[in-house]
Amino acid sequence: MTRSTRQKRSRSSRLYTGLLGLYPPAFLERHRAEMLQNFADLEAAAPSTAALWRLIGKDLTMSLMSQFLASRLGRYVIGVLVAWMLFFAIGYAVRGPTPGYPVLHVFAGFLLGMLAMYIATRFYRAPQNSSQA
């Protein structure tokens, strides 16, 4: 193994370690050591850095999406989006596509969404969420 390959691999490993921070803390508490070991094994067996990151990129996207949707925060975000769409649809049905009103609907929806996100963030950091990985 050349020096530059070793450096490249250690950069990949550092990057993956940083990206692991995107997972919920409870999940990391259970699996961080295993995931880092698996990454090292995958890195050692990968034919190229590009092939390694193709697998890891797809895995991160899919698993983070799944973790997020299963989390309390994810459910709140979905709830906010649904509430926002309903609010918009009702506004459109009642007021029609009058110029000016959609802007108000969007602004009100934005405020509602921000409030829900704030509340969701408080819940997401609460200890009872730790079992939901």
Binding site: F27, E34, Q37, N38, D59, L60, S63, S66, A133
Partner: protein, 107 residues
């Protein structure tokens, strides 16, 4: 007390993990390699997908943690429910394949 019912149908990832663990305790990387081999390279699983699935499978009672001496190499094994579920899903897939073969034979 009635026996817990196997949660069917399974996702491809769950089915392959159960299959990889049949008859042998394995750690994460070993499971990924076995899944890759069993699926003929069509199912490639990364660490995030694997441990997310394993968490859900442990919660459902399909899989249990085995040897945990090294936190970097925790072993997982099938439970009795996991084995029953694997057999039930294999039977279900066989029946589906049979129907599909019959339909394709008619076409």
């Amino acid at each position: 007390m009635s026996k817990p019912k196997p949660p069917l149908p399974l996702t491809p990832a769950v089915f392959h993990i159960l299959l990889a663990l049949f008859g042998k305790e394995r750690h994460g990387y070993d499971i990924m390699q076995q899944v890759k081999a069993d699926s003929g390279d069509t199912v490639k699983m990364g660490p995030g997908t694997l441990y997310g699935s394993l968490d859900r499978m442990i919660e459902a009672g399909l899989v249990a943690r085995g040897n945990m001496q090294d936190p970097r190499r925790i072993y997982y094994r099938l439970t009795a429910l996991g084995q029953t579920t694997l057999r039930a899903e294999t039977d279900r897939l066989s029946r589906v394949a049979l129907v599909a073969r019959r339909q394709l034979g008619r076409a």
